[in-house]
C-alpha cells in the first residue's frame, strides 16, 4: 500500500505526535474528566492509522512490526486481569483497594487508572492490528488493489 502526497506527509509529521499525546491524556485522566480507557484506546489507534495511511505500509513495517500489535493486545488483556486479581489482596475479586477519595487528583482513584491504562493498551493494539490485517490482505483472484 503506497503512501500519499508530500503535503499530507508533512502535515502528518506535525500532527501525529499531538494526537498520540492527547490519547494518552484521555486514558490517564479518565477518572476525573470524561474519557477513559476505551475512548483513549480508539484515539491512539487513530494516530497509528493516520501514520499508516500517510506513509504507506512498507515504511511502517520498519517502525512497528505487525506481530508486536497482537502481542500488545494480549499484554493489555492480561494486564486487566492482573489488576482484577490484585484486588484479592484487599479481600474480594476486583476490589479497589488503593482508593483514597476526595482529592480530585490522579492518585485518588486507586486501581482505576491502572485498569484504564491496561484497557487503553488493549483497545489501541486491537484496532490498529485489525486495520493492518485489512490493508495487507491481497486477494488471489482479484488482481486490482
Amino acid at each position: 500500500m503506497k503512501g500519499m502526497s508530500l503535503i499530507v506527509r508533512e502535515v502528518t509529521k506535525l500532527v501525529a505526535g499531538f494526537i498520540f499525546v492527547y490519547g494518552i491524556y484521555i486514558v490517564l485522566y479518565g477518572h476525573l474528566t470524561p474519557g477513559g480507557g476505551f475512548v483513549g484506546g480508539v484515539i491512539l489507534a487513530c494516530s497509528f492509522i493516520l501514520l499508516m495511511l500517510a506513509f504507506g505500509k512498507n515504511f511502517m513495517d520498519h517502525v512497528i512490526k505487525p506481530w508486536s500489535l497482537t502481542v500488545g493486545d494480549c499484554v493489555g488483556a492480561l494486564g486487566f486481569l492482573l489488576v482484577a486479581l490484585l484486588g484479592l489482596i484487599g479481600g474480594a475479586f476486583f476490589l479497589n483497594f488503593l482508593a483514597h477519595p476526595g482529592d480530585f487528583r490522579l492518585l485518588s482513584g486507586g486501581a482505576i487508572p491502572l485498569s484504564n491504562i491496561a484497557i487503553g493498551v488493549k483497545v489501541s493494539a486491537c484496532l490498529a492490528g485489525v486495520f493492518v490485517a485489512l490493508s495487507i490482505f491481497r486477494g488471489v483472484r482479484s488482481g486490482k488493489e
Partner: protein
C-alpha cells in the same frame, strides 16, 4: 400518552429502518449499513431512558455542591453500558467487512442472490 414517549417512538422508527435494511436488501454492504443503523438506534434508545429533565452530566467538579448534584445529574448506568457497546460495535463492523472482502475475493460479486446460486 403519546407525548410522553414520543422520543422512544422515534428511536423505534430508526430500529425499524435498520431491520428493513437487514432483511430486504441484496447487497452485502447494504446489510452491513443496516446493522450499523440498528446499533445507532439501540444506543440512542438507552441514553434516552436515562435522561432527567434539566439534567447535567454525571461528572463531579470541585466547585459543585454534592446534594444538588445528586438531584440534578442524569443516570450514569446506561452511559457506562453504552460506552463499551459502541466500541464493540466497531469490532463487529471490522469483522463484517473482513467477511465481505473474503466473499468478494471468492465469488467476484457483492450480490447475495448471485452468491446463493453459484455453489462454490
Amino acid at each position: 400518552m403519546i407525548h410522553g414517549v414520543l422520543p422512544y417512538v422515534l428511536a423505534t422508527i430508526l430500529l425499524g429502518v435498520g431491520i428493513y435494511a437487514i432483511t430486504c436488501k441484496k447487497n452485502v454492504i447494504k446489510i452491513i449499513i443496516g446493522v450499523i443503523v440498528t446499533e445507532y438506534a439501540v444506543n440512542m434508545f438507552l441514553i434516552l431512558i436515562g435522561y432527567r429533565s434539566g439534567g447535567i452530566a454525571p461528572v463531579l467538579t470541585r466547585a459543585m455542591d454534592k446534594s444538588e448534584f445528586i438531584n440534578q445529574s442524569v443516570d450514569p448506568i446506561p452511559q457506562a453500558l453504552i460506552l463499551t457497546s459502541i466500541v464493540i460495535g466497531l469490532g463487529i463492523v471490522a469483522l463484517m467487512v473482513a467477511i465481505a472482502i473474503r466473499l468478494y475475493e471468492k465469488y467476484g460479486t457483492f450480490d447475495i442472490s448471485e452468491i446463493r446460486k453459484l455453489r462454490g
